[in-house]
């Protein structure tokens, strides 16, 4: 075990996997000398050279398309978008090409791509640099979706992603990069996709959440504990595939479900969890499931406004209480 930041965990795994397999390479904007805005490839060009830590032009469609082509032809690209918000710039290559290639070509293509980026609020980046977009990647079939909330998960899920023979969209969170935690030294440490993690056990209400909101949900659970309410906090860790079993089991136990995420609430993935779990555990539900997400406006720059748009710890607490005392 070593104590390191989430950003360092990402870097460590990229480095180890590039050493292990020379088909793995990194391409993206400013990944070379800068090492990315958050340092996740810092100095790697010194070890691997500028062919394998490859600065690209500011051409997101070409970046993703080149990853699709290179993967089709036997490489294992880790393509980086600087912010997930820029996925919209490359959206055709992501959703019409990368997502569909294998299926449409009758299963003959194999696309081992990791498309990495970071998202979310917390750094005053405003409307086009703060969105949480993972729901869209669940809606359009064809990619796996991983969302680590700790340094160990960043390491374990990223290694799984790199070794996966399918496109994986890897969602990091900008506010998590500086968080620290223990990460196994084992260069084979992997976290399987499709297994949720119960971040805190509880018996009264199930909170499902991801990324930055795991810590906020845990804060809320602390608050609730003071009032005698025992909240279970579940982090699905991968959204495709999604571990409904663990969530359903929990709801069968607690009878109450709150899903909270930083993604927009309207048609956010929380609604999907509510619909699916309602189907699987309807008779167990003691109260209406509650969905919290960002309000329906672009993310504003001002910190007070930004905070007003995304769910607060208090709102999570209140939602759980509402579920308890409906």
């Amino acid at each position: 075990m070593a104590n390191m930041t989430y950003a360092q965990a990402v870097r460590k795994v990229i480095q180890e996997e590039m050493r292990r397999d020379d088909k793995v390479f990194v391409m993206g904007e400013d990944v070379e000398k800068l090492g990315g805005v958050f340092g996740t490839t810092r100095d790697l060009y010194k070890e691997f050279g500028t062919e394998r830590i490859r600065n690209t032009p500011i051409s997101e469609s070409a970046i993703v398309g080149a990853a699709v082509g290179a993967a089709s032809a036997g490489m294992r690209p880790i393509a980086e978008l600087m912010y997930w918000d820029f996925a919209f710039v490359a959206a055709d290559q992501i959703f019409n090409q990368m997502c569909k290639t294998r299926y449409v070509f009758g299963g003959n293509a194999k696309l081992p791509i990791v498309l990495r980026s970071q998202q979310g609020t917390g750094r005053g980046n405003a409307a086009t640099h703060s969105q949480s977009l993972e729901t869209i990647f669940m809606h359009i079939p064809g990619v796996k979706v991983a969302c680590p909330s700790t340094p160990a998960e960043a390491a374990g899920l990223l290694r799984t992603a790199i070794r996966d023979d399918n496109p994986v969209c890897f969602f990091e969170h900008k506010a998590l990069y500086i968080t620290k935690g223990e990460v196994p030294d084992d260069p084979e440490f992997m976290i399987p996709f499709g297994k949720a993690d119960i971040k805190r056990e509880g018996s009264d209400v199930t909170i499902v959440t991801n990324l930055l909101y795991v810590s906020r949900a845990l804060e809320a659970a602390e608050e609730l504990a003071k009032e005698g309410i025992s909240a279970e906090v579940i982090d699905p860790r991968t959204l495709v595939p999604f571990d409904y079993d663990t969530v359903t089991e929990s709801v069968k136990k607690t009878g109450r479900l709150v899903v909270v995420h930083e993604a927009h609430q309207n048609c956010g993935w929380g609604a999907q969890v509510i619909a699916e779990v309602s189907k699987r555990a309807f008779r167990y539900l003691d109260a209406a499931p509650i969905h919290l997400g960002a309000k329906p406006c672009p993310l504003p720059f001002n910190p007070g406004l930004e905070a007003a748009v995304i769910p607060s710890v208090k709102e999570i607490v209140d939602a759980c209480k509402a579920a308890m005392y409906h």
Partner: protein, 321 residues
């Protein structure tokens, strides 16, 4: 210069493509084929002359008008037609139809129903070839219309900066669907756009096999020497409507007839082969007959092939290693 073997190969492929396209047309009018089908009739010289210089290790990315590329890159007529008809025996198990057809095993990265969508993918293929030190090239085929998509610009700039072995072949058939080039494109010769990337751009008569062949040979040589990409614009014309239901309000019958009568690439190349004593009439007639026969068998194969089983509709979304 084109040698006899290559000449016959090209002549054969052009005929296979022509037969395939015209058969697809007939099947469509007979309601045996459905969906969006874009035919390559009249443009055969481009795919055939380019792919004559490619092996299975070379890569192509194709377009919505992709049957010609697919066949020239080595696909068999039977499984290709089966795919157009959505049959289980098709190259893509009936999932792709005309617009996404590919024989992946032959280095075809796929037809692409998004105009301009294949250009970055070919570029990525070239990147892989370069990183793997392979003595191969990638080719992006696309239309005049596609040359106004952002992907054109991003990809060629990237390939130029990285000196990728990628050749960008513009099939300028005078129209993007119904829009004439002058109405959509700021330059007459799309090849001049090479200047924007500091790379060679050349415009050739796309109905002249020899011209296309030689231009591509130059570009390929340059690519293999590590000098980077080129643009080749092939001026050509599609005989059929843009798609099988096109009312063709945007051009005259006379214009179409002129291209058919006076600029048919197959007829022209046939005359060239005979004139240069690369083939006899008899040899060429035999090729024509063989192609026709192959096509007839392909129709039989495709017609008699089973529909895919809906029970497997969710297979292959992910590779399960």
């Amino acid at each position: 210069m084109i040698d006899k073997k290559t000449g016959l190969w090209i002549y054969n492929k052009m005929n296979e493509i022509r037969d395939f396209e015209e058969t697809a047309w007939t099947l469509f009018t007979e309601n045996k084929l459905r969906g969006s089908v874009h035919l390559y009739t009249g443009e055969e010289a481009v795919a055939a002359s380019v792919c004559a210089q490619l092996s299975d290790e070379d890569l192509i990315a194709s377009t919505h008008r992709g049957h010609g590329h697919c066949i020239a890159k080595g696909a068999e007529l039977d499984r290709a037609l089966a795919e157009l008809m959505g049959k289980a025996t098709g190259y893509c198990k009936g999932r792709s139809g005309s617009m996404h057809i590919a024989d992946f095993t032959k280095g075809n990265l796929g037809a692409n129903a998004i105009v301009g969508g294949g250009i970055p993918i070919a570029t990525g293929g070239a990147l892989a070839l370069k990183m793997q030190n392979k003595p191969n090239v990638a080719v992006a085929f696309f239309g005049d219309g596609a040359s106004n998509q952002g992907t054109f610009h991003e990809s060629i700039n990237m390939a130029a900066v990285w000196k990728l072995p990628c050749i960008y072949v513009v099939e300028n058939n005078q129209f993007g669907m119904t829009v004439p080039v002058w109405q959509s494109t700021s330059v007459e010769d799309i090849s001049v756009r090479g200047a924007a990337y500091g790379i060679p751009g050349e415009t050739v008569d796309g109905n002249d096999v020899v011209a296309v062949y030689e231009a591509f040979a130059r570009a390929k040589e340059r690519a293999l020497k590590g000098e980077g990409p080129s643009i080749i614009e092939c001026k050509t014309y599609r005989w059929r409507g843009h798609w099988t239901g096109d009312p063709e309000v945007y051009r005259t019958r006379e214009e179409v007839e002129d291209w058919k009568q006076n600029k048919d690439p197959i007829k022209r190349f046939r005359e060239y082969l005979i004139k240069h004593k690369l083939a006899t009439k008899k040899e060429l007639d035999e090729i024509n007959e063989a192609a026709a026969e192959k096509m007839a068998k392909a129709v039989e194969f495709a017609m008699n092939s089973p529909e895919p089983d809906p029970a497997h509709v969710l297979d292959d979304v992910f590779y399960e290693g």
